[in-house]
């Protein structure tokens, strides 16, 4: 079992003719993902990475019976690409693009709430169900099949922590990078809910970071609604207020909200062990299984 993606997921790559799009389309196909088409306006009729390219997502989805897309489109055009995928409509849209303006995302988010589509990202590494499929830029080789559900706001931190798990023989049902922007399509709670409903997920690792209140909200949700045990990690304990730590969302406001301390306290209060180091996260997970 898994969440969101599996062997039946049929993927359109939006922006497949660009450098990143082309490279990762190839990487996904190599991993086993059903990449069935690309979509690039004006490039219909071409073939890239062995799949046909269409001018519109709508046509790609209809012709190739696709139900998901991965968006590799520059920030200025990314939200239009997401709107296009929402309208097709696809069941799942994974927006890799980093640097999407916040107000554009607010509009996407507004539209999203009226649809049944899951949007992952933007500014995310994507998601993977090890051994079946990956949608995004995650390096497939560090993941392994198993019973831990993984969710993270960060990309390379995901790799670091997953690698620690895999090295110890702890595999994953799925792993989802939800993205580091202030406004994202799918948040911790959405993913936790899916893992809770997945019978094969026996434990969950949740990697948060400073900024916003998503981790606090997730902690409350865990405390109230979840039986599956969760281990946490929070990056940015040493971040000073008012400074954006890379991710547009990773900023502790001047008023002290969004601190690592508040997130760790909330998670602890919900019964979640929070590791001080990635290694300690793996220790806690090992103890649970």
């Amino acid at each position: 079992m898994s969440i969101l993606v599996d062997n039946d997921t049929r993927v359109v790559v939006q922006g497949i003719t660009g450098g990143e799009g082309k490279f990762h389309a190839g990487q996904m196909i190599e991993y086993g993902t059903n990449v069935v088409a690309g979509a690039v306006p004006g490039r219909g009729g071409q073939e890239v990475a062995g799949v046909p390219v269409y001018d519109t997502v709508d046509r790609a989805a209809r012709e190739e019976d696709a139900n998901a897309s991965v968006v590799f489109v520059p920030p200025a055009f990314a939200t239009d690409a997401i709107f296009e995928a929402l309208d097709a409509p696809l069941d799942l849209v994974v927006a890799i693009t980093e640097g999407v303006p916040q107000q554009d995302m607010a509009k996407v988010y507004r539209k999203l709430r009226g649809t049944d589509t899951h949007l992952i990202g933007p500014n995310c590494p994507g998601l993977i169900t090890p051994g079946e499929t990956k949608l995004g830029i995650l390096p497939g080789n560090i993941f392994s099949e198993g019973n831990v559900g993984f969710v993270s706001r960060s990309g390379t931190l995901t790799y670091q922590v997953v690698d620690n798990l895999t090295q110890r023989g702890i595999g994953q049902t799925s792993a989802v990078g939800i993205g580091g922007d202030p406004i994202i399509g799918t948040d911790f709670i959405d993913v936790l809910e899916l893992y809770e409903a997945d019978p094969e997920t026996e434990a969950i690792v949740m990697c948060g970071e400073i900024g916003g209140e998503d981790e606090e909200d997730a902690a409350a949700y865990i405390g109230e609604h979840m039986d599956t045990p969760v281990v946490g990690f929070i990056a940015g304990r040493t971040a000073p207020p008012g400074k954006r730590m890379g991710h547009a969302g990773a900023i502790v406001s001047g008023s002290g909200t969004g601190t690592a301390e508040s997130k760790i306290d909330a998670l602890n209060a919900a019964g979640v062990s929070v590791g001080d180091t990635p290694n300690q996260v793996a220790d806690y997970v090992e103890d649970l299984l």
């Binding site: 990143e20 920030p75 200025a76 980093e98 640097g99 999407v100 303006p101 916040q102 107000q103 995302m105 607010a106 509009k107 988010y109 507004r110 539209k111 590494p125 830029i137 995650l138 390096p139 993270s152 706001r153 960060s154 990309g155 390379t156 931190l157 995901t158 790799y159 670091q160 690698d163 580091g180 202030p182 406004i183 990697c207 970071e209 400073i210 916003g212 209140e213 998503d214 909200d217 990690f233 990056a235 940015g236 304990r237 040493t238 971040a239 000073p240 400074k243 954006r244 730590m245 890379g246 991710h247 547009a248 990773a250 001047g254 008023s255 690592a260 001080d276 180091t277 990635p278 290694n279």
Partner: protein, 381 residues
Amino acid sequence: MKLHEYQAKGVFADAGIPVPDSTLASTVDGAVEAAEEIGYPVAIKAQVQVGGRGKAGGIELVDDATEAREAAESILGMDLKGLYVDRVLVEAAVDFTNELYVGVTMDRAEGKPVAMVSTRGGVNIEEVAAEDPDAIVREHIDPAFGLHPYQARKAVFDAGIDRDVAIDAASILTQLYELWEEKDATEIEVNPLMVTGDGEVIAADAVMNIDDDALFRQPDLAGMEEEAAEDDLEAKANEYGFDYVRLSGNTGIIGNGAGLVMTTLDLVDYYGGSPANFLDIGGGAKAERVTNALDMVFSDENVDSVVFNIFGGITRGDEVAKGINEALEQFEEIPKPVVVRLAGTNAEEGMEILNTDLVTVEKTLEEAVQRAVSYAEGGDQ
């Protein structure tokens, strides 16, 4: 990107929001001259981006040329909460009867903008929010429709603003939202919005933060960015296109990906060291970018050692190793000891390439951080 008060007020004035007459000055003589021209009383205000300027002595109200000179002399060149004051705004003092607060910010949890209004202006609004949340009226904005005029009115009336000035305050809130949208702001506020004896409202301070990710379509504001940079190193990071934050410690940190770099900082702290910076080289970095990153960190005189932590996804370990070698081979003597840890894509190839005469290689993140902390404390290389 934060605008300076004088920059934000320029934007406000262009949008038709009333602001006091003011002139920017970088010398004492210039400040006095400006004060004479505007006419007393004037406020002399340090142009640094930090809250609580008034309490810290960065704002003075003066009534004549002598006082203006004294104030300008004391403020220009002062150290205000760690920032050097090189410019002051000389501004007509407003004779006010009341101080309001109006602002627009992004409510991340709701994914939509929120307008805020309070009659408790002129003080730290975050303290007001903490101790008396009901003193601030919040009105969420549907991003598809924008702020409806009725919402602005509802907010000011619900906040209890006097009926005489309520409609004007609502208009200013509407204008602020229009600016927020037009300029891709993430935060915009007027605190205080002063009410004069004649029942006029005027923006006595101005805060405006712009979405860095939207600067590509805000050429006018992007042009202000350089002016607003606070620190030579941060300016250099802008040039190189790095996400960089300077901190006060002595262990330099370079990595790929915001979460992983933050985690590296946290581990430096966890192992008893003190991080000198946050530096994210981003995804897919090539050799040149790596060289630039090392140049950045070496340029920071506080740095005593460097930890270079890469977990490759798009980023390839061999490219990183090449960049590290190139950067270090140009030195007769390596300026600061460098500890490298490579994992993920092409990590093994990278390890093989790395010139171990120039760097220390560690296999795990924890070991690399501990080694760099030890070097920073003067430990053996």
